[in-house]
């Protein structure tokens, strides 16, 4: 976890700053879109936060030398798709319930 | 201020925010959400304590970290049970509230 690295310290700083920047961008977008009128907008907002969050996570993991961040990113990608499918299935089921 | 203190304070605020939601929302699903929010805050407190205990080449004390993992699993089990109860209530009565009216 805290293994030695040959990475240049300036490189770690750069990646760290990039992680912060990407996260800030995504947060700005999130605030706008969570207000969106429909459910579909919102679930896509979460999906998009996912993309940016994963990018930030990968950068952070590389900057602070946590290789397991890759596994966390893989997990997030898989589970984000799972949540979206649960939404689609739940929405169609809700219509069936109402019919 | 260290990052452990910062995240510890963040966890304190999260517990308060979650508790407010738990008290104020009439809908059970919102209460379940708030309960999970509080859970996140409490686990984060453990995380801050673990981070403070960084020693022996580790970034944090593994014992509280393992406790958080156990806690997350139990919180999930409780959430799943609560959601199942709520959905059954909805199936039986067509309502998803606990109000005594109607």
């Amino acid at each position: 976890m805290l293994g030695s690295s040959l990475k240049h310290p300036a490189m770690a700083d750069f990646l760290f700053a990039a992680a912060g920047l990407v996260l800030a961008m995504v947060a700005a977008g999130l605030a706008r879109i969570l207000w969106g009128p429909g459910d579909a907008d919102r679930i896509m907002a979460a999906q998009l936060l996912g993309t940016g969050g994963i990018a930030a996570l990968l950068l952070l993991g590389e900057a602070t030398n946590v290789p397991a961040a890759l596994d966390v990113a893989l997990t997030l990608v898989l589970l984000a798709a799972f949540i979206s499918v649960a939404f689609v299935k739940g929405a169609t089921r809700s219509e069936a319930d109402g019919a | 201020m260290t990052e452990a203190t910062l995240y510890g304070l963040c966890s304190a605020a999260l517990v308060g925010v979650g508790l407010f939601g738990l008290i104020m929302h009439p809908q059970p699903l919102r209460k379940i959400l708030a309960f999970n929010l509080i859970g996140g805050g409490v686990f984060l407190l453990f995380g801050a304590v673990a981070r403070r205990g960084a020693a022996a080449g580790l970034g944090g004390d593994p014992v509280p970290q393992a406790l958080v993992i156990t806690g997350l699993v139990v919180a999930f089990a409780a959430t799943a049970l609560a959601v199942a109860l709520l959905l059954r209530l909805f199936q039986e009565t067509g309502r998803a509230t606990l109000g005594s009216d109607g």
């Binding site: 936060l49 596994d71 589970l79 299935k89 | 304190a12 925010v17």
Partner: protein
């Protein structure tokens, strides 16, 4: 530090939004975002094992469960909206919550210095377990009793959910039957994601002995993939009275308990492992436990039986 302050504020903001949102579904989406940010935060707190658990279970599986519940409850929820509480009650609640927050904050600020830690002991004794990941060593060796009881708690929750089934579908199949469309998009995505997800799940379980990961994280991913396959109609949920299913559910805790009891005979106390074989025994526990947890988690999400068992 600027990054940490920003991340902490972001987590707080999303958390507050989850409470404040008027629409329940919007709040649930906020909660999913909250979980994702917490996973980032756990990486910052040097707890990658917890980050994995949060990503898989705290945000992922819980998120999926709440998303489908809130879409199903949609109409009931909108009907129930606006039972506004009186202002005096809101104020009282706000004061109470501020006090609780202040109390927790005081605890954080007054934590003893230097911080007590079990990290050195965990590292010193790790060689005896044959493991390379201290968190797994805590879960499977030092505090194995917690983990054993936890697997039992999961089973109890499942029994609770199953007992909600109406009489006519007792012991039946959870959830609706999802029809697969051979050329459908959902079938495609499931056929793609499920095998990859199973590989990732096994990988994360397997590296858990030496690196961040372990049985809970791996099992959660496997569970999510099973439910994904069910939702896409690739497989049907099993009737909960199937013998193989019941066996699969109890196999993990049963093996765990058996090896724990054997500890009395071979190493002097409950859940003690004889030193040269510790790693082998831990692995013998972990494999069935992972399968049992995966099945239990998936069935917890699937909910109570809704269709008669048939055949």
């Amino acid at each position: 530090m600027a990054f940490d302050i920003g991340l902490a504020l972001l987590v707080l903001g999303v958390g507050a939004w989850t409470v404040a949102a008027r629409d329940t579904f919007a709040a649930v989406v906020g909660f999913v975002a909250y979980g994702l940010l917490l996973a980032l935060l756990w990486v910052r707190l040097a707890a990658p094992d917890v980050a994995l658990t949060e990503a898989a279970l705290g945000s992922g599986l819980t998120g999926g469960l709440l998303v489908s519940a809130s879409t199903r409850l949609r109409r009931a929820e909108t009907r129930a909206v606006d039972e506004r509480q009186p202002a005096s009650l809101r104020l009282a609640a706000a004061v109470l919550c501020t006090l609780v927050s202040a109390g927790v904050a005081a605890i954080v600020l007054l934590l003893p210095e230097p911080a007590p830690t079990l990290a050195p002991q965990a590292m010193v004794n790790m060689a005896a377990t044959g493991l390379g990941n201290p968190v797994t060593a805590v879960l499977m060796a030092y505090r194995a009793i917690d983990t054993l009881l936890e697997t039992v708690v999961l089973l109890l929750a499942l029994v609770g959910i199953w007992s909600l089934a109406p009489d006519r579908v007792w012991g039946g199949v959870p959830g609706p039957r999802h029809q697969a469309e051979p050329d459908g998009l959902l079938t495609f995505i499931a056929q793609l994601l499920v095998p990859v997800g199973i590989l990732v799940g096994i990988h994360i379980f397997w590296v858990g002995s030496v690196a961040p990961g372990g049985e809970f994280q791996g099992a959660t991913i496997l569970a999510a993939m099973w439910i994904l396959a069910m939702m896409a109609g690739l497989v049907d949920a099993p009737a909960v009275n199937r013998r193989w299913l019941r066996l699969m559910l109890v196999a993990g805790p049963a093996v765990f308990l058996t090896i724990g009891l054997t500890g009395f005979a071979v190493a002097g106390s409950f859940l003690a492992y004889p030193e040269p074989h510790a790693k082998l025994l831990i692995l013998m526990i972990e494999i069935p436990v992972t399968l049992s947890i995966a099945a239990t988690l998936a069935l917890l999400v699937a909910g109570p039986p809704e269709r008669a068992p048939g055949r």
